[in-house]
């Protein structure tokens, strides 16, 4: 599709994780190798196999809503409202938005299951009130802020965040929207979510040392760490941004999607279609492999997943895989499931803006089956023009995207 091809800029970032509540604080935390993985104090964990996570205890109030009303919102609504508000503010899109066509592409995961569960513990009966389902938190936020354009909640499991960015860029090219909010907000740390992933044996069980539990590509990794938070980015065409004087965080260059068609949960060990997603993302971005300066890996810290991703990177980049720095910021954020790649997009913007690569924490002994050029434990300063972000999810969803310094 070349007819409407022109650069897509990212001009706004709204982010809230245990590591930070805006772009600068989040970037600082990631580049300084901070982790907020800790013992869960939101509910009793005594009979859970994993007792820690990276979680939000509170969410800052959004200026767009009175504090008492904000306090009545669900945590999911608060997070979506905060991230959406901050993203728009960061992009300079404030005031009356009703005349602007601002779309929303929101990645979701098991959101309604988690919403029902939290409501149930709070004494609510939403799960039994058939036909009166709560609106998604993001839709509530959209209404409060008066964001008027087309919207969609979509899910590619843990690859949802990248998928929303790809959709947003297409909607801009299609002329469907003038601006688009894309990303995901996930409140994942609930008793059932912790238990279901624990019983799947997907979570790390390093209960004695939570901060060292998320260790992507390390030989002694034993699973991922559940995380939560949200990130929404504002995308718009360069011409629109320049016309209104908006400053870019980066350019969204493109993305590629594939499906493993292998298993509902287990990634294809051959990683053929993860590799294909990387290749497609480069091709659709019109970027050559040697132009990639940094790879933000999906890197969940699961034994099987990390090996598959390393293989995909090695196969897609060949000899270059020995020289392109790779890190997984999940070592600091935990795995935010549907919001994972949205947060990782922020990590990529941090790398581009600060010209430094956030590290993989706890990478003490790289797994010989994951031979890559790891950025281990401390950030690396480097000239960075283009960044690849990988994201692979349940159902075999593979979604990779490329960001660049704004042209």
């Amino acid at each position: 599709m070349n007819r409407h091809e022109e650069p897509i800029w990212i001009t706004g970032v709204g982010v809230c994780t245990p590591l930070g509540e805006d772009f600068d604080s989040t970037a600082n935390a990631l580049l300084n190798g901070k982790s907020q993985v800790r013992d869960i104090n939101l509910f009793l964990t005594e009979n859970h196999s994993t007792k820690f996570a990276s979680f939000l205890t509170s969410i800052p109030n959004s200026a767009s809503i009175p504090p008492d009303r904000f306090a009545q919102c669900t945590k999911q609504e608060q997070l979506a409202l905060y991230c959406m508000d901050k993203a728009l503010e960061s992009a300079g899109l404030t005031g009356d938005l009703s005349k602007k066509t601002i779309g929303v592409a929101m990645g979701v995961g098991p959101d309604w299951l988690q919403a029902w569960e939290r409501d149930y513990y709070a004494g609510g009966q939403a799960i039994t009130q058939v036909g009166r389902e709560a609106r998604p938190g993001w839709d509530f936020a959209r209404e409060i802020l008066g964001v008027p354009g087309p919207c969609m909640q979509l899910s590619a499991a843990c690859a949802s965040g990248n998928q929303t960015l790809i959709f947003a860029s297409h909607w801009l090219k299609m002329g469907l929207v003038d601006y688009c909010l894309a990303g995901s907000c996930a409140i994942n740390v609930t008793p059932i979510t912790l238990a279901t992933f624990g019983n799947l044996r997907a979570l790390s069980r390093r209960n004695e040392t939570p901060k060292s539990a998320s260790r992507p590509f390390d030989l002694k990794r034993d699973g991922f760490v559940l995380g939560e938070g949200g990130a929404l980015l504002v995308l718009e065409k360069k011409t629109t941004a320049v016309r209104r004087g908006a400053k870019p965080f980066a350019e969204f260059l493109g993305g590629g999607n594939t499906s493993d068609a292998h298993h509902m949960v287990i990634p294809n060990p051959e990683a053929k279609f993860a590799e294909e997603a990387i290749r497609k993302s480069l091709s659709n971005s019109k970027v050559n492999p040697e132009e990639i300066d940094y790879i933000n890996a999906h890197g969940t810290s699961t034994p099987v997943g990390d090996i598959g991703e390393a293989k995909a990177i090695q196969n897609a980049f060949g000899e270059l895989a020995k020289t392109i720095p790779v890190s997984s910021t999940k070592s600091m954020t935990g795995h935010l499931l549907a919001a994972a790649s949205a947060i990782e997009a922020v990590a990529c913007l941090a790398a581009l803006n600060r010209q430094a690569i956030p590290p993989t924490l706890n990478l003490e002994e790289p797994d010989p089956q994951c031979r890559l050029f790891h950025v281990a434990n401390t950030a690396m300063e480097k000239k960075i023009d283009r960044v690849l972000s990988n994201s692979f999810g349940f159902g075999g969803s593979n979604s990779c995207v490329v960001f660049g310094k704004a042209r």
């Binding site: 799960i127 036909g131 959709f167 909607w171 299609m174 159902g395």
Partner: protein
């Protein structure tokens, strides 16, 4: 694929409907249907998968099989297709049972299958596995009133040339089932609708077409009917119509069947 700008600055895109089917199964039939899943899946699913599939997933697999069979595409490969599905709130009955067991017996009784099988993306991942589909697999919408989002996703994927065809699926309970699902013996039906769409001609011919119109100057025509599940279910029979599925007059879909 090029979209075609119209005189007033709007865009349109025309696609062929090459397969369609619907199914409505009473709750009492579902146990027997679970045993028949291997008949409908070209790539076999493991027993563990089959055992834990959500009821809507069973019906959507059956409906997809019907669509493939009726359209003469049983031998077709769907490698470069994609799939977008919209199960409506799967997992309600499983979650309430899980919460109750969790309260009395603890974390160890919680099924590891809840998130993989009962999320918005679950059916799309399942279909991609069963039919060897390597294009994107996505969930969209997933709630009553958000069914049109499947078409928005389809339009986006086809516009961007990521796929050569798409399986679109919707499923729900009618009426919606409550938490006492296991005890109720009423007339609940689990229903599914499948459409196969492609910009390419299909050997078996087209069953109809879908036209997408979008832009900032789409006229604010009256909306004859919401694009909801009942509409889609009857569309699969013989309905035609003109609908606004998007927001603020920027997105319309026009169906014409039997052409």
């Amino acid at each position: 694929m090029e979209s075609l700008p119209t005189e007033n600055g709007n865009f349109s895109l025309s696609l062929n409907i090459v397969a369609m089917a619907r199914s409505s199964q009473p709750k009492s039939a579902l146990a027997g249907m679970r045993a028949r899943i291997p008949e409908w899946t070209p790539n076999p699913l493991g027993l563990t998968i089959t055992k834990h599939l959500d009821e809507q997933a069973i019906v959507i697999l059956e409906t997809l099989h019907l669509a493939v069979q009726k359209s003469g595409m049983l031998k077709k490969e769907f490698h470069n297709w994609g799939t977008v599905t919209s199960p409506r709130h799967p997992g309600r009955s499983r979650l309430i049972q899980t919460i109750n067991k969790f309260k009395t017996e603890g974390a160890w009784v919680v099924s590891p299958h809840i998130v993989p099988f009962d999320s918005l993306h679950s059916h799309a991942g399942l279909i991609s596995q069963v039919y060897g589909i390597h294009g994107p697999n996505l969930g969209a919408g997933g709630m009553a009133g958000l069914e049109g989002q499947v078409f928005m996703a389809a339009l986006t994927l086809l516009f961007s040339q990521e796929v050569t065809g798409l399986w679109l699926g919707w499923s729900c309970w009618n009426p919606e089932i409550g938490p006492n699902w296991a005890e109720v013996q009423g007339e609940e039906f689990c229903q599914g609708v499948i459409l196969g769409i492609t910009p390419e001609p299909c050997p078996a011919g087209r069953l109809g077409r879908i036209e997408f119109h979008w832009g900032q100057n789409i006229p604010q025509a009256p909306i004859p009917q919401d694009l909801d599940f009942p509409f889609l279910f009857h569309l699969a029979a013989e309905t035609k119509g003109h609908f606004r599925a998007g927001n603020r007059g920027v997105f319309q879909i026009e169906f014409s069947l039997g052409q």
